[in-house]
Symmetry: none
Subunit: 399 residues, 2 copies
């Protein structure tokens, strides 16, 4: 369908905003109760919903729990199953690393191991980003014959490494055991193609453990998401959009870069995102505003804190509306119910607001209210199409 | 899916009627207001809706604005993106021109140009059909070596030309600049294949301008929609249906012919359509009854007039019901909101009425009411399947 959309896309000055609350969808805390979003006091969202068309969306498909990258790809109009993106690439793009074709990017967690090499903390006591940067400097001493190694901090205990050289491939399995009390896996090729890279990785780990010796709690590295750059047509090429991302967290900037968006750097919070939005308003027509902490508090299992994060976004909304977007979509990239402390497959509520549509009588922005909205449950990839249509950016199909 | 349907299709005497109001879907005229259909007094449609299953459909996909031909193809069960139909073919089929494989059909508008050859009126003051027919006679004097030229009137200022000869192709761009104050484009091939046809077209235009000299306001021709006949399996072959079209306008007869329907000619209005329906009732089992003026009044931006056209169809409904169709579908091929004065992407309300179904509590045939109906928003291509099923024309799938 995106080939059809590409042929119909027409440019104009209308502005589309996607306001994304990460992990927005939730579940009731107790039987008969309300979800996080249904609990939150959201007078501004409710007022917009009353003039909107509402529904729920599934980013990948019914019953599929989306990771953050595919969840966002769907929102940006890309079928996630067609464009698998490894975690390593997301990390590299997120920090703006100039990834080249055939580079292999890998997410690295600094971790803590005991004297026997068993992992005791998969996040090295959540060391701060500055510490992470310092350790990446230390690891830049790693030398591997025929391979360039780029080690970079991401955030907190998260870093990434890129291997560049001949004969490398991303066919390598994670070394992260996803558990404590056990040793990391030895690097292992998942196909013949990955053998050289598995050897390179083993050598990297060997040298890294030497360099990190005595640097407790960050005395080990866990590697996952071996990935090469996928080929994805940009939102400019596909939809004629000039997009820009206003996100605090690196991973979301990474996905945005991958689909050709500009990225505003150094945004600390919603206030900063709002100020930046005003600055880039004139030069773009697609705005991706991302709020991370709804997901974080869901992952923490903190229902009330997630409610508060939603209320923060509600309080932010009027300043966004003042800019007068022609089309506003408010939704999430997946559900993260606090009661599950994890991403889930539950569909995510959305509203789309524009001049020419049929308000569907939804007076409260919530999961159950949106389920009774005009659109029912739709694929997440269709939201961008609706937005393009309501911004008059799609020509008529056929005579 | 149509391959599956084809294998399941079974014939019986049950009658299916598709009553299509062109451009039926609408939008509220003012904030908080009702759409054209919601405004119209439709006691008969409302009564049928109360015994029906209702929903909304998107002929091509969410956010895609359908042209008339693809909108109808979807209603007849054909995925419009799989069967692109050029405007020229629609025009030729519409007037019953016996198009052959490899013919190139082109829509021609008579237009007005000034002394410098700049277009001042793209519709030549909307000359009547008789004038158009007279001018087509004049242009039948065009002679091009190795090419047969068939010039025929369509309606008002609209005509069509068919080029028949060796080495022709539809890979030629429109000469219609879609604007006034500028000259028409010179005929240009869109690929190597189209070169000969572009030359033929240039010669056609050269001779036509000579023949039309002094015939102001129709002293120029604009050409668009160069097209060859696509290969589409008929509704008989796919669904086992013997279909017939009862339409006033040529283009809709054209699409109906393309999918193998019989066509009743010379129908002036709904009364004539109703009388013709009785005559063809015994010999067919699929009846396509088309009302054009809902779309026309929407395109005019005349909300109240569109409301009246809907009410006319409502008044027509009882005479149709007297025939006792086994399945009745009432819907449109796309939306044409008067406030937009154009086709739009908004989903179109539908009802399906038959003996064995679950009335869903819809008591008013309207966009918002149908959104709360049993089916939600479905692809337009699925309506024919529902109709076949409810007419018991589809066998069980699998043991």
């Amino acid at each position: 369908m995106n080939q059809v959309i590409k042929e119909l896309a027409q440019k104009n000055d209308r502005k589309i905003v996607f306001l994304i609350m990460d992990g927005l969808g939730g579940l009731p805390r107790e039987k008969g109760g309300r979800t996080e979003l249904e609990t939150a006091r959201t007078p501004n969202l409710d007022a917009v919903a009353a003039e909107s068309e509402c529904g729920l969306h599934t980013p990948i498909g019914m019953g599929i729990t989306p990771g953050s990258a595919p969840g966002h790809l769907a929102l940006f109009g890309y079928e996630p199953t067609q464009y698998p993106i490894g975690r390593g690439v997301v990390a590299a793009m997120g920090i703006g690393f100039p990834l080249q074709a055939a580079d292999v990017a890998v997410r690295v967690n600094f971790a803590t191991q005991d004297a026997e090499g068993r992992i005791t903390d998969r996040r090295a006591g959540r060391i701060p980003t500055e510490k992470c940067a310092e350790l990446c400097e230390v690891l830049s001493a790693v030398k591997i014959s025929g391979v360039e190694v780029f080690m970079r901090p991401v955030k907190d205990y998260r870093a990434m490494v890129v291997f560049r050289g001949k004969g490398l491939s991303d066919h390598v399995e994670d070394t992260d055991p996803q558990a404590t009390g056990v040793k990391p896996h030895a690097p292992k090729a998942s196909s013949e193609q990955g053998k050289r890279t598995a050897e390179v990785t083993a050598e990297f780990v060997r040298q890294a453990l030497g360099l990190l010796e005595g640097r407790h709690p960050a005395n080990a590295v866990l590697m996952r998401g071996f990935a090469e750059l996928p080929t994805i047509p940009g939102m400019g090429e596909l939809f004629g959009l000039r997009g820009v991302a206003l996100a605090v967290y690196p991973d979301y900037k990474g996905v945005a870069r991958l689909v050709g968006m500009d990225v505003v750097e150094d945004l600390a919070d919603l206030d900063a995102q709002g100020r930046a939005l005003k600055k880039v308003w004139a030069d773009h027509d697609f705005f991706f505003v991302h709020h991370k902490y709804t997901d974080s508090r869901g992952e923490d299992g903190d229902f009330d804190a997630k409610v508060k994060e939603i209320e923060k976004v509600d309080a932010f909304l009027p300043s966004l509306l003042e800019l007068g977007p022609d089309v506003l979509v408010v939704t999430g990239d997946h559900s993260t119910p606090a009661v599950m402390m994890a991403h889930s497959s539950h569909p995510i509520p959305f509203l789309i607001h524009a001049a020419n549509l049929r308000p569907d009588g939804t007076t409260e922005f919530g999961e159950r209210a949106c389920a009774r909205g005009a659109w029912g449950v739709v694929p997440g990839t269709t939201l961008i199409r609706l937005a393009l249509a309501y911004a008059d950016k799609l020509a008529k199909f056929g005579a």
